[in-house]
Chain length 236, copies 4
Amino acid sequence: MARTIGSNGARTAEAIRQAGVKLIYKHGYEAMSLRQLAAEVGLQSGSLYKYFENKQNLLFDIVRDHMEDLLGKAEADLAGITDPLARLKTFSAFHLRYHMTRMAHVFIANMEIRSLEDEHRAVVVALRRRYEGLLEEILRQGAKDGVFQVREPKVATYAIISMLTGICMWYRPGGRLSQDELVEIYTGLVVNGATGPGAAAAKPFEANPLEAVTAQPRDGGTRAKPRAARPKAVRA
Amino acid sequence: MARTIGSNGARTAEAIRQAGVKLIYKHGYEAMSLRQLAAEVGLQSGSLYKYFENKQNLLFDIVRDHMEDLLGKAEADLAGITDPLARLKTFSAFHLRYHMTRMAHVFIANMEIRSLEDEHRAVVVALRRRYEGLLEEILRQGAKDGVFQVREPKVATYAIISMLTGICMWYRPGGRLSQDELVEIYTGLVVNGATGPGAAAAKPFEANPLEAVTAQPRDGGTRAKPRAARPKAVRA
Amino acid sequence: MARTIGSNGARTAEAIRQAGVKLIYKHGYEAMSLRQLAAEVGLQSGSLYKYFENKQNLLFDIVRDHMEDLLGKAEADLAGITDPLARLKTFSAFHLRYHMTRMAHVFIANMEIRSLEDEHRAVVVALRRRYEGLLEEILRQGAKDGVFQVREPKVATYAIISMLTGICMWYRPGGRLSQDELVEIYTGLVVNGATGPGAAAAKPFEANPLEAVTAQPRDGGTRAKPRAARPKAVRA
Amino acid sequence: MARTIGSNGARTAEAIRQAGVKLIYKHGYEAMSLRQLAAEVGLQSGSLYKYFENKQNLLFDIVRDHMEDLLGKAEADLAGITDPLARLKTFSAFHLRYHMTRMAHVFIANMEIRSLEDEHRAVVVALRRRYEGLLEEILRQGAKDGVFQVREPKVATYAIISMLTGICMWYRPGGRLSQDELVEIYTGLVVNGATGPGAAAAKPFEANPLEAVTAQPRDGGTRAKPRAARPKAVRA
DNA sequence: AATGAATGAGCGTTCATTCAT
DNA sequence: AATGAATGAACGCTCATTCAT
């Protein structure tokens, strides 16, 4: 009974993963040393190699798992919704909330792509393309239906995702505005941008605009802890 | 050998600066070695120290000079325009064009802020705040005038700048869409986002929408060369 | 290769310390390179950092440990002796013997104080002051008792210690004169200098003058090995 | 008339020499860089090579010239004095005064011998042997005459010179004790040490003991300036 | 008489990684 | 499952020195 089921190994592996996220977030992949990481979890640096093949693979695992999680959850959120406008709102709200609760993972996935070796980067870029494809398809469908005024869905996709993702550069939990308020503001910009000036009649964004969007805790127990270390800031 | 014939301090300094931008863009500041940089300009690594105090200062010089250039040119572009809508279009177009022609500098300034030491980062962050302040003030004035529907100018500023800046993550000269077309698309999203759904009557963004914005080469001969090295891509 | 078979941390640490003493003695702290030191003990230079924090700390450790050893052994030797003259002879003999058997340490401690960083130097200077204080107190007491003619005990302390310490500049084991003979000669100069011309009646230094002083193996097995490298000499 | 007679070159050479003494005194030969030295005299470091062959020769020139000066002045001071006791007092006083006024040169000559290359060191050591020979001969003659009780003149020479030279480790102009007082104290120790306990009758060191010794400014305008930079101290 | 651009070697130090134990 | 001793390469940086101008 001295040994917890699931073994110490699994727990250590998880601790390493979390410490890795924290340190890469804080210092950047290149600047984080394995000695630091080992110290963070109470090991010698050589012992880390029981848990990953090398430093590069640690990064890859973190980023790939994050991207798969992001993609899977986005697809789950959109499942069953067919109206393009509702899908856009859902996507936007999902993306925002995810980026506000998993800032470190998201930040890493965006900043450290260039630190990935070619093959790993290819995998991650492919996952991201699939994720972007979700939004692109929404915009394309909405344009076809006449509800969006979007000439270039691919460009609009990049633009919208950049805008939404940008929230992780400055958002900090406990700020003046709640997550709900921020979702409303950003989603408003997105929807207005997509529907265009003639859309007034359709009242695309008014009374109780977030009714289809508000829900989801989704992230279970893993919400990014408010006390998480911050990177040297970008919007300090 | 003591001196390469015809060597010239000012020319070398400029070559180092340019090579620095290129290599930091391509590999990241941490990952770029001074030996690489020296090789790029045909020097021994120790000789670089005639041209900068240390590696950190090279980065700082690049980023600070870029930010001052960006800020100065934005202010120059906005000078004399008073109408908030026109100012928003001008700002947006300026930002986009600048980011399409100086991709490497812009990318560095956004990605390597965390590699700056505290004091240097403070200087750069302050410059960026001033730059963001330009847009925020435009949004604030437009909201006061009733032409924009923007509840939180600060948040909208971050959102819009993130969106516009995102262009440097994927834009490559010579692509299917011209700079002018991209400016039109992005500016449309921005203006529609800011004016909101009720703005239809004002027709804020239609026929010939960029007449006041299209022109300017501005950057004279220094346009970022199309052959510039690309970073390991983020949108590859 | 990961590990030299039979390698042993404690043994390596000791080897590094000894090689450090030898090389600093021979070339001086500034002139000794860590690559030299590493080669001397059969390591790569980076591996040394398992054993000290940095080059400066290696020097500090050597010098501080030496000073503490010197001080401790001097106090032990003087313990129980109360007569100022006997104490002076004891101190003088102790100092000489110590300096003849630990020439390298002593030389380093005297020559490399200026290579210590401020904080480290302060620690070492304080230890040396305590050591000098032993002699100063002896002179002061002897002057009070009327056995010494010493107007300025502090100055006399410096003078005597300089004289005695100087032996490590030229003494080499196996020379014409034995350690005992040298102790007698130097101690004679010291005692005569301190007691002054009128002291004849007291016969402070004649027949069997070292009877209270001769003893001491003290340093057991650690006698400085005669084969030790010599510094580029100062009295070559 | 724009050009001062003696030319700028000679003046620069002298400035370099003085700055060299100052910086070697302060930081040590190894630790002093030629860039520092050049900055001190307002030149580029490459320009120094008009004034010396290389760094090592600068040190050698300083040390050799100092030794020749020391030797020459000692011989001049002793000229015409025949009585061993008077010669001992003269030598002692000369050595002390010289060491109190030329601390930097003396310090360098003592500390940096090991930084000299073999050939240069040989020259300097030979000069020092001649200097030590002066004292040794005095002691030998005095012993023969029965006025000194010195069994081993060579050892006594080393001992006495070490003692006297030690003054440059702690003496600072403007201290509580004047140069004259210090000369008296130290010379007392030396003379008492040499004459031994039975010498009381000869009253070797009493009433106006320095009458033959006090004089000489000798060092003309070049007295070490009290404001001279100090080395990181050895007796701080 | 001096500059200023450059060299090439070497410095102290850190790093990811290996592997016998 | 983990340690701890070690590697070998590379890093940022400083140095004495050279020499065309």
